[in-house]
Subunit: 404 residues, 2 copies
Amino acid sequence: MFKINDNYLKLPGSYLFSTIAKKVNAFQEANPDKELIRLGIGDVTQPLAPAIIEALHGAVDEMASAETFHGYAPDLGYEFLRNAIVEGDYRSRGAKIQADEIFVSDGAKCDSGNIQEIFAKDNKIAVCDPVYPVYVDTNVMAGRTGTYDPKSETWSDVIYMPCTAENNFAPEFPEEVPDIIYLCFPNNPTGSTITKDQLQGWVDYANKNGAVIIYDAAYEAYISEDDVAHTIYECEGARTCAIELKSFSKNAGFTGVRLGYAVVPKDLKCGDVKLHDLWARRHGTKYNGAPYIVQKAGAAVYTEQGKAQLKEQVGYYMNNAKVIFEGLKEAGYTVSGGVNAPYIWLKTPEGMSSWDFFDHLLEQANVVGTPGSGFGPSGEGYFRLTAFGNYENTVKAIERIKNI
Amino acid sequence: MFKINDNYLKLPGSYLFSTIAKKVNAFQEANPDKELIRLGIGDVTQPLAPAIIEALHGAVDEMASAETFHGYAPDLGYEFLRNAIVEGDYRSRGAKIQADEIFVSDGAKCDSGNIQEIFAKDNKIAVCDPVYPVYVDTNVMAGRTGTYDPKSETWSDVIYMPCTAENNFAPEFPEEVPDIIYLCFPNNPTGSTITKDQLQGWVDYANKNGAVIIYDAAYEAYISEDDVAHTIYECEGARTCAIELKSFSKNAGFTGVRLGYAVVPKDLKCGDVKLHDLWARRHGTKYNGAPYIVQKAGAAVYTEQGKAQLKEQVGYYMNNAKVIFEGLKEAGYTVSGGVNAPYIWLKTPEGMSSWDFFDHLLEQANVVGTPGSGFGPSGEGYFRLTAFGNYENTVKAIERIKNI
C-alpha cells in the first residue's frame, strides 16, 4: 500500500494567500455591492511595457515559421538572456558573475521553493521572522523543520531571527549557528532593508561558519538609497557562500508572464562538490526551461528602451508607496518600509491582532491587506500593504482607511 | 557547516540528453562540414499552428492594457483552460473528470519529476525498463531507490518491468508488489502501447494492491488504433488509483512554449487523505502558474480550428514515422513502434551495443538518435529514432542509414 509524505500533514492551515483569497471571496459574495480595493497580495496591476509587448509579438512570430521556430530551450536558459542578465545586473555593478552561473527559471517562487532540495535533510535553516512563507513551508514538506508548536506558531528545528521595530527590522546573528540562511532584501513583508555593510557582515558570518545564504533579491529594482546593495555579489566573499534568486515579477510586471533566475557561483562548494553542479542536475532533470517567447521578453527588460520604460513603471509604484506611507502616517499609524521597497508595514492599533485588523479593514474600508502574523509570529501586530495597485485605487484606499 | 543532498552524488553520469548533446557538439566541432540530422531528442520541428499563433498574439495584446492585463494565475490554472481540457480530453471520451481535478503546469517533465514529492520516502516504485529517465532520476534525488549497481545498471530498491521484443514491449505484473507504478502509453521510448483491456488489468491490479499508478499520457495524440485508451480514466476504477500526466508538447508542438497538466481525482486517497489536497498544496506553495499567454494558447488547442490544424500536424509526424519504419525495415532492421507513437524502436545490428550504434550512426550517417540503453538495462541492444524531424530530413536520414 502506498504511503504519503506526511510532512505535508504537519503544515498548519493552507498557504497564506490562499486563505486570504477564500476570506475575500466569501466577503465579496456576501457583499456583492461593495467595491474592494486589493492591496494585499503582491501582484502588479500596470500593463507590460511597450518594449516587452513588442518583444513578445516578435517572438510569437518567430514561432510561426519552421525556420525560426524554437523547441526545447537550453538547460540553463538562452544565452542571449543570460548574457543580458550578467551585463545588466552584475558586471554593471562590479559583481563578478559569469553567464554559465545563471539558471533561468519560471520565477523566484519556484526557485526559492526548490533550492532546498539540493541540501541534506539535516541542515538547520534560519529565517527572518516575519518571512515570505514559501521558505519555511517548502522545508516543512522536506521534513527539515521538526515539530510545530501551535501556541508559539514556530517549528522546533527552525532558527527564527525576529525583525521588529526594536531592531529596525534587521535580523541579528542567531545564537545557534544555522547551516542555511534565508535572507530577502529589500524585505518582503516588512519593506525594510539593510545596508551594504550590514550585508557584508552576513557574508562574513556565513563564510566563517560554513553556512550558505539563500539571498532573495526579488525587490532589488525598488532600491532608492545608495548604501543598499543591489546584489549580494557586491559583497566581498559572497561567491563562496551565497546563492541569489531574482525575479522579473516586480521590476517588469511579469507576475503573469513568469520569469526569474538563480545565480549559483562555481566557487560555492561543500567539500569538493560544487552546488552549481547539483543545481544544474536538478534543473536539467526536473525542469524544461522557460518559454522562448518569455525569455525574449526578459531580454527586452535590459534594452535601453525597456530600462527607461520600466524605470517609469517602478516609479509609478513607488509613488503609490509614498501615498500609502504618508497617508497612514497622517492617519496616526506607525509605518515603515516603502522607501526601498513596494511594501508598507504598519503597526496595528493597540489591542488589535493582525487578523483582527485584516477583518476590520476588509469590512470597514473594503480594503484587502495582508496580516503580518501570516508571515511569522514576530509579524503579529503588524500589517502589510502593497504599492502595486493603480494610483487612483491606492489614493481611494488610503482615504477610506483615514475615515474609519 | 551546511551539507548537500548526497543522493545527487549517487546519480551515475549526467542526464541522458545532456550527454547526447555533449557528444553531438564535440562531433560537430570536429566536423564542421558535416550536416547533422537530429532524430534523437523528442523535440518537434513544425511551427506552431495558426490558431495558436493567433491566440498568443491576442493574449499578448491583452497584457498591453491595464484593463485586460493578467497577473498571477489562479492556483490550479485558468478555468477557461481547465474546462476546455475536461471537455476535450475527458468528457468526450466518457471519462468522469472535473475541472477542479486538473492542475495546469508548465509541462509533463516537471510534473513527472515533482509528483513523487507527495509520497513517503519508503514507497517502492516500479518502472518499465526501458523508461523515460526522469521517473527514476527524480526518485534517486529523493533517496527512494537504494544503491546503484553499475554492473547491472539498476537500483536496489526499484522494481524493473522489462519491456522487450519477448513480451511485445508490454510490462508484466511484477513479482514484488510496488507502491507506485509509473506507466507511459503510448510508450517513450519503445513507441509501443497496450490495449485498453491490458490497461484495465493494471488499474485492477493497482486497486487490489493499494498501489498508485502515475500514468504518463504525453503521446496520446498519436494513437491510431481503436483498442488503445486515450486516457487511463476510460478504465473502470482508475479514479481511485491513478494520476494522469499530460503534455501539450507533442500534440501541439509546445516543447518551447511549455504547458501540461496533471489530473489528480478526488477519489484517490491514502486512508482519509486525498492526494488531490497534497498536490494542491504543493502546486500552491512551490509553483506560480503557467503564463497567461501560454494558457490562452493551450485553450486554442481545443477550438475547432486548432483541432483541425493539429490533426494535420500530428499526421505530418506520423507520416515521418511511417517513412522511418518502412525504410528501416527495407534496410533489414527489426523495428517496432511508430503506429500509435512518434517513436521507432529498432534492434541494433548483431554485436553492436546501443552506444556503439549511436556512434556508428553519428559518424557514418551523421544522424543523431538515442541509445536504448540510456533508458534502462533492457534497452540495451535497441535504439530510438523520432518522427519529429521535418519530412525532407527524415527521408534523407533514412536514405543515409540505408547506405551504411
